[in-house]
Amino acid sequence: MEKHDLRRKVFVDVIVQHRKTGEKKPLYIIFEDGRQYEIDKLCACRRAAASKVGGTGIRYTIRVRGQETFLFEDEDLWFVEAKNLHA
């Protein structure tokens, strides 16, 4: 239970490349406070539950500054399972 409390669902702005093949490739994540993170690598993409913060969506496994994390898209809204320091 404690583990869940450490994360918060935070909706973010995302700069996305829409490919001619129909795929979406998220490039940058921008938090509410303006902090911007480049996505170094897109590792995987599948539908999954965001078990830490609730809800589901298309889950992009991304690498940002050497760290692997998840970015979710649900009904055109993007969110991350942010640690509380971004809350």
Partner: protein
Amino acid sequence: MANQRVILHSDMNSFYASVEMMLDPSLRGKPVAVCGSTENRHGIILAKSELAKKAGVKTGMVNWEARQCCRDLILVPPQYDQYLKYSKLAHEIYYRYTDLVEPFGMDECWLDWTGSSVFGSGMEIAEAIRKSVREELGLTVSIGVSFNKIFAKLGSDMKKPDAITEISKEAYQEMVWPLPASDLIYVGRATTRRLAGYGIRTVGQLAALEPELLRRWFGINGIKLWQYANGTDASRVMHKDFVSPIKSIGHGITCNADLENETEVFKVMFELSQDVGHRLRVHELSAQGVQIFIRSKDLSYKQFQCRLPVRTQLPSEISTAGYQLFQNKYRWDQPVRAVTIRATELQPQNAADQLSLYVDNARRDRRIRLQDTVEEVRQRFGKGALTYGVLMGNLKMPDDGRDTVRMPSPMYQ
């Protein structure tokens, strides 16, 4: 063995409550119940989590009753749009394996896996579905695998949550026959009572009876029950695009406050008829009959019906017929709590009509043209874009999107 059917029945566990807990992790591991709003007088438990169930909370309990069973119970209001969304997403997982998917309400489905071995056996597919639903939707299902729809459904009830039960031809007598007869689909309270009157309490006892005897007791349904109990039911799982033929179109509501006079009842009927008329148009049907269902304050109910002089799609004609029925038949011994109005005896809208000498057809044509325009405006600008003056103000009707919920309809036979 080769010709044996493989039917799966997937049941999403405590569906409403599970969706709520999936959406809000802070609810996990707590007794949670989804309940209607007390203000709108739907204050009953609609679904509960496993913990709430263990504490004795039952579906249909009044909210305060449930709180008495379980002090820490967390009550949350329903979010029907979310339930619909997750029901649809679960169906999409089923469609990966077969297009023979017959829903039974929002949270249950039968799947026919007969003759397909590309992805594995019935049990393997059940496992794949269980895993996908868990990982992709964060929800759990229990699945029954058997050789007919009835036992598949029984199987999905045996182990919960997040489990799979197989009832094979070899094992069904051992697994199903000791169960109480009331576990069978369509054996409700009344049938259970009647069976008990004859000394029949288990599925096995039901199966051992002469079918002719059951036919004498319950008519054609008696034979069906006998087939269900013996595992010989052969009803198909319908294709996912199958829509059962519409026999009637109705709309009903429990009001926020009791209706105290005829004018209030008329307004509610007229408002409900707007929707009935619209749906008749969508399905290109017209009604030859009208039925009303009135629930009084003391929860007793009455149902009345009549035939219309001409077939119609017009909300005004449907509500007028319903209102006249109400005026003629309802004795105001109690205020009215809930009203349903239903268009019956449906026929295609283009079917030939016998015109009546006693109806002003020119006037009627004008009304139909007016309604065409009303529908067109509503289609372009929304349902609320154009309404009747009489429907302004407080109609004592709640509006929380409950209309969109799909209730279980009879399984395809």
